[in-house]
């Protein structure tokens, strides 16, 4: 046990440093990348991962250094991994919507405006979902 402590502490410290580093990178990306779609990459992933690392550090720290059995920190990154893509998706939709409606405060960015999908349909943000597709949640009775 006595040998494990410095290692555990080292591990915890490393996870914390790594986590903080990713968080920093995520926020830096948020600052420096050219348009919203690029910026969206940084925090949704780097920051989330950074937080996961810090929480892992917390688990290690309490488990091994303080001898307290804690696992519940792990639920936080689990939850974040479920929600972060949704949040990113919604923000991206907002961006697309602003682009299409000509909002001057939302420029298209280096990738330009997205091309429409092949076929007759448009992206869901611009067109109501077709009946019977997976996008149609108007009523489950019809599904």
């Amino acid at each position: 046990m006595s040998g494990a402590v410095p290692f555990a502490e080292l591990l915890a410290a490393a996870l914390i440093v790594l986590g903080a580093g990713f968080a920093l990178v995520g926020s830096w990306g948020l600052v420096r990348l050219p348009s919203l779609m690029e910026r969206l990459h940084a925090p949704t992933k780097a920051t989330t991962l950074g937080l996961g690392a810090m929480l892992a550090g917390s688990v290690v720290w309490f488990q091994l250094v303080k001898g307290e059995w804690t696992t519940h920190e792990l639920l936080v990154p689990v939850f974040l991994f479920v929600t972060a893509p949704i949040a990113a998706n919604m923000i991206a939709k907002v961006h697309l919507h602003a682009l299409r409606s000509g909002d001057a405060s939302a420029p298209a960015g280096p990738a330009g405006a997205p091309p429409p999908p092949p076929g007759r349909a448009d992206w869901a943000t611009h067109e109501a979902p077709h009946q019977g597709t997976p996008c149609d949640f108007e009523g489950d009775e019809r599904r």
Partner: protein
């Protein structure tokens, strides 16, 4: 060792929050601001976690969990508002 890591962690998160602030104020789009707030929530969770480690108390966990949930709901609600006006329809 851990003190050093925590100091680095605090400094990094402090800096990250400052950057979030910059994006929040700067915009330019409302989507940027929502994104900044969303990121900020995650960084704040980080601060809470690190503070829990520094204080040797795991009591901050619930706050972190709740913040993760609620940050998501807030982001979705803001986005839904911009997309549809009516967030519950």
């Amino acid at each position: 060792m851990l003190e050093g890591a925590l100091a680095f962690g605090f400094a990094g998160l402090g800096l990250a929050l400052a950057m979030n602030l910059w994006r929040l104020v700067r915009g330019p789009g409302t989507a940027d601001r929502i994104l900044a707030l969303d990121t900020m929530v995650i960084n704040v969770i980080g601060v809470i976690v690190l503070a829990g480690i520094a204080g040797g108390s795991p009591a901050a966990f619930e706050a972190a969990l709740l913040l993760a949930m609620v940050g998501f709901v807030g982001t979705v609600a803001y986005a839904k508002f911009l997309l549809r006006g009516d967030i519950i329809e």
